[in-house]
């Protein structure tokens, strides 16, 4: 009758629940779980003990109607004391719950609860013994029904720790059965078998209820264990990703140093090379270096994006400048591959809400990708209006993407098999960067493709009304400029540098180191659009005077002073009269802005506003 033998060694219980479904045994759950079961048992036992004085009072009063009830009053008195004691004991249990660990709690309190249950059981048997032999049939029946009801209630709720209930069961109901022939002298042979049936049913029921409680706690613990495992796995995955990103960016940073040096050395060798036979391998070497650098940049971009270091700043952006930029960036490459690069310009006011850097990166990667995997034909860039969005499309007449590859080509380092045969420069990172950028902007991307016929990769961004944009430093490499700029500087080293810099913007530079040379350029019949004049000239002339004289000769030209001196009286006069004075060192971006006001080639005839010319 003692199915639970855990009291001997509760500490042997496994700390974590087992994988298989639990047996009806306390050991299936952890010590903490067992303590919870004990608490649940105690709660029910306590309720039962607290209720009993009321039951005892009612029964005693009923008994007093016909009999001498002294023993019954004594029984009632006992339950009042027992209930009060149980109440105090329960407070101690509560305190112990906070102080002791689960194993200790079980060790101390399980025997105490068993004892309480034992006494409680004996308590319910007591009136049967008192009444046996002289109680009326009515009272005896009431007593029997009451005891059966108490048993049923306890068999359902007191069973989390079965050994506690079993003690109550033995000293309560079962013990009272022994006295039944004296309680029901005339009918015991009817009532006793029914009572034994009740015993059997309650025994079965108590075991079922016990299994249910244990299973419940086991499930709870299993759930907690699984969620802890999940958290661990997730943390490990995140740590691995962070580790990978750190490794990538460190490696790329470190490798970049020598690669950078190699790039410069190759460039230097190419410039000095007089051997025609070396030209081809040198150019291959340069292309390879560019490819390696491109890979480093992509790797760094990807790791930066993945580690969340990229701040996304959406702003209204006009599409046309991006298209112009793509043309500048890729026209030469397209030509060198024998491809046509065509742009279908969006309307002048077309603007999207996007992060400039991310959009630029995505578009540039898409076009780069398209050019790379298109052996012949061309690439077309266009923008299409779609219900409040601009969809920017990059069409190519290239290989196309097989259906099974369409999801995977956005994963880092994935390249379809046939792509590898066409182009070995790629690293499978470009589209991965596109996907991450687009995700960061909460935009959409996708592709349509037919194998062997070509693909269309697209980005879809919400349209925006172009708002005012804060004046911030911009890269000085927008639309090409056109015109001729006369530079007056007395340092011959500097003159060569000016020529290279302006040349890279599309501006022709005429160089002069004094007024005589400057006028020689004008006399030679060259149209001068801009004059940049250093204030201090070695010839001793005042730069400003020379500028005024030159502007007088070329009224259509615009002029500005350039100077490292801050307080020359001539410069103060120049500013006073409204001439532009650039202070050295002049920010390249500022110089470009100035020249672009005067020399920017119009996009088309209708756009550039020119002020009224005097």
């Amino acid at each position: 009758m003692e199915p639970v033998s855990a009291s001997a060694a509760p500490a042997r219980a496994p700390a974590t629940p087992a994988q298989e479904p639990p047996q009806a045994s306390l050991q299936t759950v952890s010590m903490a779980g067992q303590a919870r079961l004990l608490e649940m048992t105690y709660q029910r036992l306590h309720t039962s003990i607290m209720v009993l004085p009321l039951v005892a009072l009612a029964l005693t009063l009923f008994y007093q109607l016909q009999h001498d009830a002294r023993w019954m009053w004594g029984w009632f008195g006992f339950y009042v004391v027992f209930a009060a004691t149980s109440h105090r004991l329960r407070r101690v249990f509560r305190q112990d719950q906070g102080r002791r660990d689960a194993a200790d709690l079980m060790r101390r309190w399980r025997p105490r609860l068993e004892l309480c249950a034992l006494i409680h059981g004996a308590g319910t048997t007591a009136p049967v013994v008192i009444a046996a032999g002289h109680a009326s049939y009515d009272f005896a029946l009431l007593l029997l029904v009451t005891n059966a009801a108490i048993l049923a209630g306890n068999a359902t709720h007191q069973t989390p720790v079965l050994s506690v209930f079993m003690r109550f069961f033995m000293t309560g109901w079962n013990a009272s059965l022994l006295v039944q022939p004296w309680l029901f002298p005339q009918h015991w042979y009817f009532i006793l078998p029914l009572s034994l049936l009740h015993t059997f049913t309650m025994y079965r029921h108590s075991h079922t209820a016990h299994r249910f409680f244990v299973h419940q706690v086991w499930l709870e613990e299993r759930g907690q264990q699984l969620s802890a495992q999940y958290r661990e796995a997730r943390d490990a995955a995140e740590a691995a990703l962070a580790e990978k990103n750190r490794f990538l960016s460190t490696a790329a940073h470190d490798l970049r140093q020598p690669v950078h040096a190699m790039g410069l050395l190759t460039e230097a060798i190419a410039l000095r090379n007089r051997d025609a036979a070396l030209a081809a391998p040198l150019s291959d070497l340069r292309l390879n270096l560019q490819s390696v650098q491109l890979m480093f940049n992509s790797l760094l971009d990807l790791s930066k994006i993945e580690s969340g270091q990229v701040a996304v700043r959406p702003e209204p952006l006009l599409l046309r400048p991006f298209f112009n930029e793509l043309e500048i960036q890729f026209l030469a490459e397209a030509r060198s591959r024998g491809l046509r690069l065509r742009l279908h310009m969006p309307p002048a006011g077309a603007a999207v809400q996007a992060d400039a850097a991310l959009l630029r990166q995505s578009l540039s990667n898409l076009v780069h990708n398209a050019l790379r995997y298109t052996p012949q034909g061309g690439v077309l860039i266009g923008a299409r209006w779609r219900q409040g969005h601009w969809r920017i499309e990059v069409w190519d007449t290239g290989l196309g993407v097989a259906l099974e590859d369409r999801a995977r080509i956005y994963q880092p380092f994935y390249r379809p098999q046939h792509a590898w045969h066409i182009n070995r420069e790629g690293h499978g990172l470009g589209l991965a960067v596109v996907a991450r950028c687009v995700d960061l902007m909460s935009a959409q991307h996708g592709l349509q493709s037919r194998l062997g016929a070509g693909s269309c990769f697209w980005l879809q961004l919400p349209a925006a009304a172009p708002g005012p944009d804060p004046a911030s430093p911009r890269s000085p490499s927008a639309r090409p400029l056109q015109g001729r700029c006369l530079i007056l500087d007395d340092d011959p080293h500097v003159l060569g540098a000016w020529s290279a810099l302006l040349g890279s913007w599309g501006v022709q530079a005429c160089l002069a180191s004094d007024a005589r040379q400057a006028f020689a350029h004008v006399d030679a019949g060259q149209t001068i659009d801009v004059v940049l004049c250093d204030q201090r000239l070695r010839s001793g002339e005042s730069g400003f005077d020379v500028l005024l004289a030159l502007l007088a000769r070329c009224p259509q030209a615009r002029g500005a002073m350039v100077s490292g001196e801050f307080d020359a009286p001539a410069l103060r006069r120049a500013e006073e009269e409204g001439y532009l004075v650039l202070k050295k060192p002049v920010d390249v971006a500022d110089l470009h802005t100035l020249l672009s006001c005067w020399l920017e080639a119009p996009v088309d005839a209708t756009i550039a506003m020119e002020g009224p010319r005097p």
Binding site: A261, A268, P476, H493, W498, A500, E577, D587, V588
Partner: protein, 220 residues
């Protein structure tokens, strides 16, 4: 004081230093190139050979070393162009370099063409702080239209600003609109105040990427 002009390269990575030096030699045939591998070598070199025309300094020598060196060089060689080369594309690093008084910041990942251009620009006495080409801001043409009202200017002030953008001096602006020069000057100070600029050049650079549209002329 200045014998032959030379460029100074400081990088503790010998391969990088030699690469930069070799590149400079091929790009600037008239210029000599001196290489230093340690920060301590720089000042003796400057004492011996005079101020360099340009100094290219690796940012990651040791924490803060590059910035200290720039402060020192600014004092001893006020005429030299000082630039930092860095593999770091963190805008904050660029800002620190700018604040330390350098004239330029060149990214290591910049293609050789850009690197050469930056050196040329620095030699011209220009400042070079270009964001890295890969992840920086896109270049802007003057494509975003803006009206004088949006800038907080009156119509007349807008008209005058349009001429300032054309680089015209006060006298010619006065002639254009039949005003006295002093009236133009008054308008000018109001315009500069509105745009938060101290000089005309600043006003023009504030309008970077914008195209001033005067309603009187219609959207031409």
């Amino acid at each position: 004081m200045s014998p032959s002009p030379y460029a100074l390269v400081l990088d503790d990575h010998p391969l990088v230093a030699r690469g930069v030096a070799e590149f400079l030699r091929s790009r600037l045939p008239r210029m000599e190139v001196a290489v230093a591998g340690r920060t301590e070598d720089v000042m003796p070199l400057v004492a011996e050979r005079g101020a360099p025309a340009i100094a290219l300094i690796d940012f990651w020598l040791a924490e803060g070393a590059a910035l200290d060196l720039i402060a020192q060089l600014r004092q001893h060689c006020p005429g030299s162009a000082l630039a930092v080369i860095s593999g770091d594309d963190d805008p904050a690093v660029m800002e620190r370099v700018r604040k330390a008084g350098a004239h330029g910041f060149i990214h290591k990942q910049a293609p050789p063409e850009t690197f050469a251009l930056a050196v040329e620009a620095l030699l011209c006495g220009l400042a070079w702080f270009e964001p890295p080409s890969q992840s920086g801001q896109p270049p802007r043409s003057r494509d975003l239209p803006v009206t004088p009202t949006e800038l907080g200017l009156s119509m007349r002030q807008g008209e005058i600003l349009a001429l300032v953008l054309q680089g015209l001096p006060n006298k010619r602006i006065a002639l254009q609109y039949d005003l006295s020069e002093s009236t133009v000057k008054e308008h000018m100070s109001a315009i500069l105040l509105r745009l938060g600029a101290r000089t005309r050049v600043e006003a023009i650079t504030r309008l970077r990427g914008r195209r001033l549209v005067l309603p009187s002329m219609g959207e031409l």
